[in-house]
Amino acid sequence: MSVHNGVVRSAYHPPAWKAVDAVAVEARAAALGTRSIKKAAKLQGLLLAVSMIDLTTLEGADTPGKVRDLCAKAMRPLPGRSDIPSTGAVCVYPPLVAVAKEALAGSGVKVAAVATYFPSGQGDLAMKLDEVRRTVEAGADEIDMVIDRRAFLMGDYAKVFDEIAATVEACGPAHLKVILETGELQTYDKVRFASQLAIDAGAHFIKTSTGKVQPAATLPVTLVMLEVIREHYFKTGKMVGMKPAGGIRTAKDALKYLVMVNETLGDAWMSPDWFRLGASVLLNDLLMQLEKERLGAYDSLRYHTLG
């Protein structure tokens, strides 16, 4: 324990690590991105990617009607094709959780909600925890929290750690995904440290981005985070999930992420229980590629709903 501005906090110090080799990370990520996946494996990958999507709408203009439409799409992405699975979850703002919960009832599709003063995380802890508790009460199965980047970048790691730990507790039965907002963390070293910190504080998933800051998810950043998860697993035997989010728009991108997860963490993580893709337009591109495989002709967005 330590005293910080008069408040007693847990002491959390950065592990003594060598710096991340940025060039090697980027080269490895680029090399994994060139894998060619064909035919049956591609089809399997596309279907798996659909089942891993957190179908997301996080706009000021979201309405219950829009969320219900999104839920219908999440449960049955392409009417007429029962071979295409439901998405992993629908991700909304807290006030729309009840609407999503009702729309998804009995479908197995989870309700995820962003909380803790998403996307900035600029709010005090009591209000953040209150928001989390109320969101879980409203029916959220998963909470996507943002870390306090201000505290993190100012070196107050204990504050970040305590907030995550308190949020895990406030979540109760709900799973917690911790958003690092890697676009604001600037270096791979900080991304690695933030990942480890979130895992140590009890995160079930670590997630790259809110989608509101550029750059959002990138392959190299995801690789750094996946390797932290791997090391943690080797050390403790405990699995942690991963969710890249933001900027993943095409089926080709999604397959690159799947290749990376499989190469870095292996088969056990190739499931919506351990890997998710936070996206909105990605789903339609996956569906277009799945239709292309079925029809033998390139598909058009005009045959798909919701943009």
């Binding site: 390139y298 058009s300 005009r302």
Partner: protein, 297 residues
């Protein structure tokens, strides 16, 4: 010691003809190139053989550009087409030289083809802001309403150019389609690559938004079936198809009710005839929107 300039010795700067997609000049994703030779068998240049995936990328680029292009004011479209003609005029010598060197034309024929191509662009540039007045209409109806018809762009149009006229034959089918506000993917024979890609360089410097015109060089038998079945193409125009190709195109297009427009192949001197610049080369790629309007508003 003398510099290379003083000795007139320079390395040959041979041009590789790539594709024109979304305002950029990428190599074909397939990596395939074909060595072009002139009539006496001498190497002219390497040209790209576009694949089905290049066609897909080009359609994506065209779809992205289509709405913005159709949404520009007709006056602006007109000015941009005129600017393309200006750019062509200032590259007249180089285009003529390409037709002579790479396509075996006589200097006189080459010059005539370039001039006719420039004039054709100017002619269609003039039509952009006159289409609506000529083709649109206020219709008499038996009721207290207005009823107005106006032409609108069809959307993404794929064109297959003929074998016989590499520049004028291409300009004559592309210009009317973009004049109407469509975005175009035009496929020419590989042998046409030098002048087609020179023309792409003209378009790339004409303020034409990226993706409004995409130019591919490739084999028609490879690209036609893909285009016919592609669900994100609104219309296909083709020059000089065999009967079998027509059946294939019409059959593929019927699944998504694409518009199909066919024309005969002809030589550059035949294309130069004024009959082949016509309002009725624009209309096959227009849709008529009719709106009802309560009178008095």
């Amino acid at each position: 010691m003398k510099t290379p300039a003083q000795t007139n010795m320079r390395l040959t700067v041979a041009k590789t003809y790539k594709l024109f997609i979304g305002g950029a000049f990428p190599r074909t994703e397939s990596g395939r190139s074909v060595a072009l030779r002139n009539r006496s068998g001498e190497f002219v240049a390497n040209a790209s053989r576009a694949s089905r995936k290049d066609l897909r990328e080009a359609v994506v680029a065209a779809r992205k550009a289509a709405e913005g292009w159709a949404g520009r004011t007709a006056y602006l479209r007109s000015q941009i087409l005129y600017r393309a003609a200006e750019m062509m005029e200032s590259r007249r010598e180089s285009l003529t030289a390409t037709l002579v060197k790479a396509h075996g034309k006589t200097a006189k024929a080459a010059e005539a083809e370039v001039s006719a191509s420039i004039d054709r662009l100017v002619w269609y540039a003039g039509w952009c802001d006159k289409l609506t007045q000529v083709l649109g209409n206020q219709n008499p109806v038996a009721g207290p309403f207005f009823n107005m018809s106006s032409p609108e762009a069809t959307g993404v149009v794929v064109l297959f150019a003929g074998e016989s006229s590499p520049l004028l034959g291409l300009v004559s089918i592309v210009a009317p389609v973009i004049c109407g506000g469509n975005a175009v993917v035009a496929c020419s024979p590989i042998a046409h690559a030098p002048i087609v890609i020179d023309f792409a360089e003209v378009l790339a410097t004409s303020d034409l938004p990226a993706g409004v015109v995409n130019l591919l060089t490739g084999n028609r038998d490879e690209l036609l079936p893909t285009a016919a079945a592609h669900r994100d193409i609104d219309a296909i125009g083709a020059v000089g198809l065999s009967m079998e190709e027509q059946v294939l195109l019409e059959g593929g297009a019927s699944a998504t009710i694409k518009r199909v427009w066919l024309d005969a192949d002809r030589t550059s001197s035949a294309w130069a005839v004024a009959d082949h610049q016509s309002l009725y080369r624009i209309t096959p790629f227009l849709e008529v929107k009719t709106s009802w309007h309560p009178m008095g508003l």
